[in-house]
């Protein structure tokens, strides 16, 4: 049995070509053109001809089938067609050619909280949201307590949503959607919002629902999450299926490619420079222990962060620090122990070595601070937030069920001994 089938699906958006500015006559010219028939003529031209229209293929001949109970991940760069695909399946956008067929109720979470009314209570909103999904009130009545319980808002059922914290809001939205007894659940980047606990709860709920025969199509940029919960992953590229296969495999291939691209285009490791009159941070890079610049860090090898800074004043001492973040958590701060006396106006390079077997397999961002200290404790800080972002990956043999997760994943010392033989009676 097939739960969802997409056949030769294409979607063309007809968008106006970028027009060169008509005249550079300035304000009087613009006023004149607003008073004449020019705008009307332009509308007429737009409506009647296709000269100024170009076709944008958001999806091109996409086909796949999904069995009930599978959690399908959709990955790909921005603009690859992931969201368009979800919008077509949820009927928001009409396909240009091709067909989608499926079985049962489709609930889509394209944006948590879309369709909520701030001026109504949580109770009213639950019914309203259900009505927007075209779901009978009987289903809501049956599931009402569960919705409230998962959202954790037992004491605020009749409170207007405008008094809800954003966390409560998101919880409620997700809870409503997952409890509508869908046969197919479409989720677009729902993990981009909310705190880590909430994200974790959502992921578990999605995985759990998958086990109960629910088909889930899941779009995310969080490769960690995708690899964890998706049994199968489709990699979309320019609107077409680029890869379709086992979750782990497709994700790791995608990660390698995208980090390769990131390194080539030199996007990471350099994000402006923060300056004051005593100095400036010039560049922050991830390097191997022998100084080679890299874009992603293997967890099984030492890597260093190289901070290049310039001083404009010879009578300061410097102390550097890094702050490491992942999943919205401040993982650690490492501060240089000794003060570095700056002897001349020059460019310096500070290295901080991150030992192997410490980092988890995820994406980290780094904030860099360089304190320039003048005289007796007069501190001038150079700060570069999100100076560096990098991804980490484990050795091939470390993968599988026991991947490194968490904000750090140190390899502690483990021992194992045989205590006694099992004596069979």
């Amino acid at each position: 049995m097939i739960s969802l089938k997409v056949s030769d699906l294409s979607k063309v958006y007809r968008i106006p070509k970028p027009q060169p500015p008509a005249t550079s006559a300035g304000e009087p010219g613009r006023l004149r053109s607003a008073l004449t028939l020019a705008p009307i003529r332009r509308y007429a031209r737009e409506a009647l001809t296709s000269d100024n229209i170009q076709d944008l293929w958001a999806l091109r001949d996409v086909s796949f089938e999904v069995e009930p109970g599978s959690v399908l991940g959709l990955i790909g760069p921005n603009g690859a067609g992931k969201s368009t695909l979800l919008k077509v399946i949820s009927r928001i956008v009409e396909p240009t050619t091709g067909m989608v067929s499926g079985r049962g109720r489709v609930v889509s979470l394209l944006e948590l909280g879309a369709g909520f009314d701030e001026d109504a209570s949580a109770r009213e909103n639950i019914y309203l949201n259900a009505a927007m999904y075209g779901i009978p009130r009987s289903v809501v009545d049956r599931r009402f307590d569960e919705i409230i319980a998962f959202a954790g808002i037992e004491n605020f059922v009749d409170t207007n949503l405008q008094y809800f914290s954003s966390g409560m809001y998101l919880r409620l939205a997700f809870s409503v959607a997952i409890n509508m007894e869908p046969n197919i659940l479409l989720a677009d980047e729902i993990l981009a919002v909310g705190d880590a606990t909430f994200q974790e709860q959502c992921l578990q709920k999605v995985a759990e629902a998958g086990k109960q025969g629910l088909t889930v199509v899941f779009v995310s940029h969080d490769m960690d999450a995708v690899a964890r919960i998706c049994s199968r992953v489709i990699w979309l590229k320019n609107g077409s299926v680029h890869r379709d296969g086992d979750g782990e495999e497709v994700v790791s291939e995608y990660q390698q490619t995208s980090w390769e691209v990131a390194r080539q285009t030199n996007k990471f490791g350099f994000k402006g420079s923060h300056v004051n009159r005593y100095g400036e941070i010039v560049e922050v890079r991830l390097v191997t222990s022998d100084g080679r610049e890299i874009g992603a860090a293997p967890t099984y090898e030492d890597v260093s962060i190289r901070i290049r800074f310039k001083t404009h004043n010879a009578k300061v001492r410097a102390r550097c620090a890094i702050d490491l973040f992942t999943k919205g958590v401040h993982v650690l701060r490492s501060t240089q122990a000794v003060l570095w006396p700056v002897t001349s106006e020059a460019v310096y390079e500070a290295f901080v070595r991150i030992p192997k077997h410490l980092l988890s397999e995820t994406k980290y961002t780094v904030d860099v601070t360089v304190l320039l200290i003048r005289g007796e404790g007069e501190e001038h800080a150079l700060v570069m937030n999100k100076a560096l972002a990098f991804m980490t990956y484990g050795a091939a043999d470390e993968r599988g069920k026991l991947r490194k997760t968490g904000v750090i994943a140190p390899t502690f010392e483990w021992t194992i001994d045989k205590q006694a033989d099992v004596v069979r009676a």
Partner: protein
């Protein structure tokens, strides 16, 4: 692997999918009129929500919400009656001019208010439309709610006026009996007319915000072309065919005939109006369904 999944792979029905796992298909430009109507019915609860939301948004954060609506109607009607009925001494074919004017504006208000809100309905909810799927036609249909509220208030004013004239003059200026059904039908027709025109304007409004602006300026002309401030009997006979092309004329006339008993029902005019309205409506449904998908792409 869970047992459900195994069952699914073996081709057996999965417990959660058993009861309501209706198959469906999405294809470009599908759906008959019947299917569309069934779907609208399934989403009927949304009509109430959008209608209420639209109405509430008018007087949000006011303490005297309903009072302002009443004032708006009472002041317009009162002022117009003084100017047209009193100062200009416009004819009313019998009943007091105030009553004549209220009866005339009732269906017109219903039509005009509804049409203005219907025109904006898609634009006002464009964020929602790109995030959640529901039959779009709910939006223009629900936007008539505000028009209906204004109509109900006008009726209240009218009933008050009838009571007042009964008390002061001892005359019932209302025809009790089956004629009232004609008045009701006229009101329904006004609503139908607003939706029919609105199906066109709401879609056009998405692309060209000028639509609503121009509509606001066109409405007064339409108002004066409709026999509201003057009775039909005061238009020269040779121009009647022109006035009757405007379905609102028949609607307003029929409502007045059904309530305060002035004027007459003109069969020929009713036929013309029904024909025009049906054409506008069917065209509107066709245009709305055709342009809906395209317009949403452009949002």
């Amino acid at each position: 692997m869970s047992s459900e999944r195994e069952a699914a792979l073996a081709g057996e029905p999965v417990p959660t999918m058993a009861s309501d796992a209706e198959p469906w298909i999405i294809q470009p430009k599908t759906g008959t009129l019947g299917e569309k109507l069934r779907e609208l019915w399934r989403y009927r609860y949304l009509w109430w929500y959008f209608a209420a939301e639209n109405l509430k948004s008018q007087y949000r954060k006011t303490t005297l919400g309903w009072f302002w609506m009443l004032m708006r109607i009472a002041s317009t009607v009162g002022l117009s009656s003084i100017v047209f009925g009193g100062v200009l001494a416009a004819p009313s074919d019998g009943p007091p001019y105030f009553l004549f004017f209220v009866a005339g504006t009732a269906t017109w208000t219903l039509f005009e208010r509804s049409l203005l809100f219907v025109t904006r309905s898609l634009e006002r909810n464009r964020k929602l439309v790109t995030k959640v799927y529901f039959p779009r036609m709910i939006l223009p249909l629900a936007a008539t709610g505000t028009g209906i509220a204004f109509f109900v208030i006008t009726l209240v004013v009218m009933v008050g006026a009838i009571g007042y004239f009964r008390w002061t003059r001892g005359v019932w200026y209302v025809v009790f009996g089956p004629r009232l059904i004609v008045a009701l039908l006229a009101a329904v027709a006004a609503l139908f007319m607003a939706v029919s025109v609105g199906l066109w304007t709401s879609v056009l409004q998405l692309r060209w915000r000028d639509v609503r602006q121009s509509l606001r300026y066109a409405m007064p002309f339409w108002f004066y072309l409709t026999p509201i401030i003057y009775p039909m009997s005061h238009i020269p006979e040779k121009y009647h065919w022109f006035v009757r092309l405007n379905p609102m004329s028949s609607i307003v006339e029929a409502f007045k005939w059904g309530t305060i008993g002035t004027g007459s029902l003109h069969p020929q005019s009713l036929v013309i109006s029904s024909f025009v309205m049906t054409a506008v409506f069917l065209g509107g449904v066709w245009f709305f369904s055709r342009a809906e998908a395209q317009s949403i792409d452009k949002l």
